[in-house]
Symmetry: C2
Subunit: 299 residues, 2 copies
């Protein structure tokens, strides 16, 4: 069982011709609702791949019985939610105009409850963006921890990052997050890598790098028709972690993560086009090679 800690959120993505000035209105020409939140994206990716996963999130009274709730149950995510009756589940409203300019209104909502919630003791946990202090407590109480700071990397203090990394077995980050962690900690990239057993740094469309036991491996992306890169990192982590608990070695896990991510970017939305294990395996064979059975599973 993989536990994933962090946000469940709903994203309202709208297109307008012009963003409004103050005290003006504008017309929405197109609008879509997507299921999101980094932790929920990862949990959904794991569940659809066939992994056993529990999502630990904060939700409001608007969640039970919602389409998102039904979707999670349909794909088999176990929910371990801190319910905040007086709040909404985190929600983001994003508006983009014809020129590509954006405005985002983000509602933290129920996630405020992370700050005061008791951290569970977990055998295998991935910590996605959430309350930094809560993630610290989760890291300290976990047996095996994986971590990605996500866009909240700025909110982590030096002490918080130090606590989490000291308890992290696998670190995921993109180039921007790596840079920010190095700045916050006052260390080099090499020192950061040495602090954790295994590090995977992603470079958007330029592939990813695995640092494991002193060695460094480059994993190229799978060439697909890119529609929306959002959610690629979460899908990568879902693929990696699902493969990891099945006993695949880290380099194979990275390749499985890359293949898993290649599905998500073909459609808009982070949970719109998730791969099951069979679809992932087929594409893996086409672009990477044979996928042998792992030697030992931890699932």
């Amino acid at each position: 069982m993989i536990h994933v800690v962090g946000h469940t959120a709903t994203d309202y993505i709208s297109h307008v011709h012009h963003l409004p000035e103050k005290n003006c209105s504008t017309h929405i020409s197109e609008r879509q609702i997507y299921f999101g939140g980094g932790a929920a994206n990862i949990a959904a990716g794991i569940a659809v791949l066939g992994g056993d996963v529990t999502l630990i999130s904060c939700t409001g009274s608007d969640f039970a019985g919602s389409e998102y709730d039904l979707w999670m149950k349909k794909i088999g995510i176990h929910q371990q939610f801190f319910l905040v009756p007086d709040a909404n589940t985190p929600t983001a409203f994003m508006f983009t105009d014809d020129a590509g300019d954006q405005m985002t209104f983000f509602e933290w909502g129920a996630s405020g409850a992370f700050a005061t919630s008791e951290a569970p003791h977990l055998p295998f946990v991935h910590m996605a963006t959430a309350d930094p202090e809560f993630n610290c407590r989760v890291a300290e109480r976990s047996e095996f921890a994986s971590f990605d700071p996500g866009q909240d990397v700025f909110w982590y203090t030096r002490e918080q990052l130090g606590t989490i990394l000291a308890n992290t077995d696998i670190l995921f980050a993109n180039q921007h997050e790596v840079h920010q962690m190095c700045v916050t900690l006052g260390v080099s990239r090499e020192t950061l890598v040495r602090q954790v057993g295994t590090a995977i740094f992603t470079m958007s469309g330029d592939g990813s790098t695995l640092y494991s036991e002193g060695a460094e491996y480059f994993i190229p992306v799978v060439p697909v028709s890119l529609v929306d890169p959002t959610g690629a990192g979460d899908a990568y982590r879902a693929g990696f972690l699902t493969a990891f608990v099945r006993g695949y070695p880290p380099l194979t896990c990275c390749k499985i993560g890359t293949v898993t991510a290649s599905f998500v970017v073909e459609y808009a939305g982070c949970q719109t086009h998730l791969a099951d294990w069979s679809a992932m395996e087929t594409r893996y064979r086409q672009h990477v090679g044979a996928l042998d059975s792992p030697q030992s599973g931890k699932d």
Copy 2:
């Protein structure tokens, strides 16, 4: 049976500390979802008062089974919807900051279908804000028509307003809408009043005026603790129309409309605090006087 033609919409009302600049984000400190749309507000008001009402709106694939759908069915609104599978039901996103400045993003969505839909032949219809051309066709085919131009008053051409008013038996408008109709038509307020049999002009917290058969009557508001004036006009129309089809004379209908509106403004949202007939009647007796049975009903 009263038919009400116009928008069904969902309003997302959010508070933020600061409205965002382009390419920036802001945090939502509070957010509520309200059921709205002028026609739907009026239909809900009539239904809760115990009137028999059918709502004619355009809805998208997001409506069936939604909380709004369930609410309408619970209070007994008959739905006669133009379903647009590829569109959303009209939705408004309103953001207000600490200084009281606002930004509104409005999604017309499914309501685009009014333009190409066939107007029904109706015995008693109220036309709220909708597509002006559709309202023209409804007015021409109706036996008895009530009309309020609402905030779309700017979109009506002189010809459209002329067509509608020539087929309107009862006109509702606030001071701003009266002014705009006079400008569009190039007529005086007196001429506007003479064009319809009965006109009711509302003046927010300053009461309303009934023009009927050459006479003019002033109806003061019912003093209540004002929380949110939104929806007062729709509730007034709901009260008036429900009473009118029950056979009350226009002046009594205005008083019932005023009392009905007094409930809605005590809470935020247009359908949050609707009065049933008994509650309306109790407050009517307290503030207006005895409410006799009508001489003849048209219900």
